[in-house]
């Protein structure tokens, strides 16, 4: 039956997925086990995205279905946190209040097994530093939709480095006007064109298949 759950997640069959989750719950299947099956389905979604069978619309829909299932299991995505692959801290850099791209990345990362600390938008450098010290993430994501925020990203990354926090983490950037030139300018480890790029980069970094 749990293979049905994996398939329902992968095929974005919302009704079937809800039915499967409820059935597994009724059988007494632990929430963590159900979450793991959902994440198996999310892995397939990710692969289909890579193969251009799925697009952003499907990534978003899969994340919505995943969240719906997590709610049925009695929490947001917190059940997944206890066995997360690693921690991902993300925000939109100060001076920029855009949140769509940031929200897509945080949701997709959550659904792919990462514990996500979402710092919100217009995030000051001090808040990134505090979050890194507190949560000890493996990966930090900085989003930006304005070329005027490039200098903010650069300053923030320099501050992370100056505080001696860069050693054990990688910093990803993304957003409309960003490209590899921007990543080089601000000193990021990588530029992610899509949310799935962030997932793939982070999984590869942590040696997750």
């Amino acid at each position: 039956m749990s293979q049905n759950l994996v398939n329902a997640m992968a095929d974005l069959e919302e009704t079937a997925l809800v039915k499967e989750v409820k059935a597994l719950q009724a059988q007494g299947t632990p929430a963590l086990e159900i979450i793991q099956k959902l994440q198996e389905g999310m892995n397939i979604v990710g692969k289909r995205y890579e193969e251009k069978e799925y697009y952003l619309s499907e990534l978003i829909m899969s994340a919505e279905i995943f969240k719906e299932a997590a709610t049925l299991l009695g929490g947001d995505l917190s059940a997944a946190d206890s066995h997360s692959h690693g921690t991902f801290v993300m925000g939109t850099i100060y001076g920029d209040i855009h949140d769509i791209g940031k929200n897509i990345v945080t949701t997709v990362m959550s659904c792919n097994g990462f514990k996500v600390i979402d710092l919100g938008v217009d995030v000051a450098t001090a808040d990134y530093l505090k979050a890194i010290q507190e949560h000890k993430p493996q990966v930090v994501g900085i989003s930006c939709l304005l070329t005027t925020a490039f200098d903010g990203m650069k300053e923030c990354i320099s501050a992370i480095e100056a505080a001696g926090l860069r050693k054990d983490l990688k910093i990803l950037i993304g957003g409309g006007p960003c490209d590899q030139t921007t990543a080089d300018y601000v000193g990021a480890d990588a530029y992610c064109k899509t949310a799935q790029d962030a997932v793939e980069y982070s999984k590869k970094l942590l040696g997750i298949q």
Binding site: L12, E14, K52, Y54, Y55, L56, S57, E58, I60, M61, A63, E64, G95, D96, I97, H98, D99, I100, N103, I104, T107, L145, L146, T147, T148, F150, G176, P177, C178, D179, T181, T182, Y185, T194
Partner: protein, 369 residues
């Protein structure tokens, strides 16, 4: 010395040659100068964001310093028009943001599921009025002021000898719906209630076309600006794209062309998957404006003999690059994508923090000056 009207005509002719796939005397170069005018003229961003005529003044002062420009995209900076087009609230300097800040769209889920039924019941035109009042706090006078500001700015551009590229702004139904509803919710709506959304969009497009035909009849703009922000090929699967994006692009483009104007396809994001489809649009009537995310080389290969390509100097290059890199990038574009059917321009708007020497380098690549 040429008069402003002679310069206006010369610039217009050069652009027309490019759009109709003729051979202009040189590749035209143009820019969307809005926020950058405040940087360049050291003006007030707060005033620029809130006054169409102040923004027009700064834009024209900027353009006059670069007389080789063949066109400017629009004669005024109109963040409120962005709000209207996307059904989103927009934060601007001097109000919600500090002086010197660029305006930013705040996408909240103001539009609820019940609003789809409301649109079906009263039509898009009437619904928009309700929405503007309820969510954006605008009455009819505000809309009138916005339109009037745009008209006056257009007249002043003409008087100064600089044609505006676009003067009508239709959009496909998907964009305001996605903006008002919030992207994640809207994307899930596409899955959960596709038939209802299709019905809503079919109603909306009728009003969108009628409204813009009226504007074109009155204002006779060089082109209608059709911007698609949330409908690009990497956003939607082919199944969704073929149902919710492409049919409306075709309907609107054909209607605008029938009204006697060119269409400025301002298509940010990545459209590589669907470039072939643009052959279905009328030949020599459209401008494909790329922000550098879609491959300009693929555009040239597939659409080079079908429609004019505009762009695609990357924003990061203009903001961070060196003049020699900008010059080299633009020269290569002119060589590879021109000399026919190509307009050199920044991808999207000229970034707020574009270096002046980079802007000059872009122009020099087209004009040799």
């Amino acid at each position: 010395m040429k008069s402003n009207q002679e310069l206006y005509q010369e610039r217009l002719n050069r652009m027309t040659q490019a759009v109709t796939l003729g051979r202009p005397d040189r590749v035209p170069v143009m820019a969307w100068i809005d926020a950058w005018a405040a940087t360049y003229r050291k003006g007030s961003m707060a005033k620029l964001s809130q006054s169409a005529l102040y923004s027009n003044k700064l834009i024209l002062e900027t353009a006059k310093d670069f007389p080789q420009l063949d066109m400017i995209e629009v004669g005024a900076a109109l963040p409120r028009a962005v709000a209207a087009a996307t059904l989103s609230t927009v934060k601007v300097a001097g109000k919600e943001l500090p002086e010197g800040s660029l305006w930013q769209v705040e996408e909240l889920d103001h539009l609820q599921e019940a609003d789809y039924d409301r649109i079906l019941k009263i039509g898009w035109k009437a619904y928009k009025k309700e929405y503007y009042k309820k969510v954006l706090g605008w009455g009819g006078y505000d809309t009138f002021k916005l339109i009037l500001g745009g008209i006056i700015a257009g007249r002043r551009c003409k008087k100064a000898g600089f044609p505006e590229l676009s003067g009508a702004f239709p959009n496909i139904p998907l964009d305001p719906l996605a903006g008002g509803r919030g992207m994640a919710k809207f994307m899930t709506d596409l899955y959960r209630m596709p038939d209802k959304l299709k019905e809503v969009m079919d109603i909306m497009v009728i009003d969108i076309i009628e409204e813009n035909k009226g504007i074109i009849k009155q204002a006779k703009p060089f082109s209608a600006f059709l911007g698609v922000a949330r409908g690009s090929s990497n956003f939607l699967s082919p199944k969704l794209w073929n149902k919710f994006v492409w049919p409306y692009v075709v309907q609107i483009v054909n209607a605008m062309v029938e009204s006697g104007t060119f269409v400025n396809l301002h298509f940010d994001g990545e459209w590589n998957r669907d470039i072939e489809r643009f052959k279905e649009l009328p030949k020599g009537k459209c401008i494909w404006a790329s922000d550098s995310v879609t491959s300009v080389y693929k555009l040239k290969e597939v659409l080079g003999d079908h429609m004019c390509i505009k762009g695609d100097v990357p924003p990061a290059l203009l903001a961070l690059g060196k003049p020699e890199d900008v010059y080299s990038y633009c020269s290569k574009l002119i060589k590879d994508i021109g000399p026919t059917g190509f307009i050199l321009a920044p991808g999207c708007t000229t970034p707020y923090n574009t270096k002046v020497e980079n802007f000059k380098a872009m122009i020099a690549a087209a004009t040799g000056q």
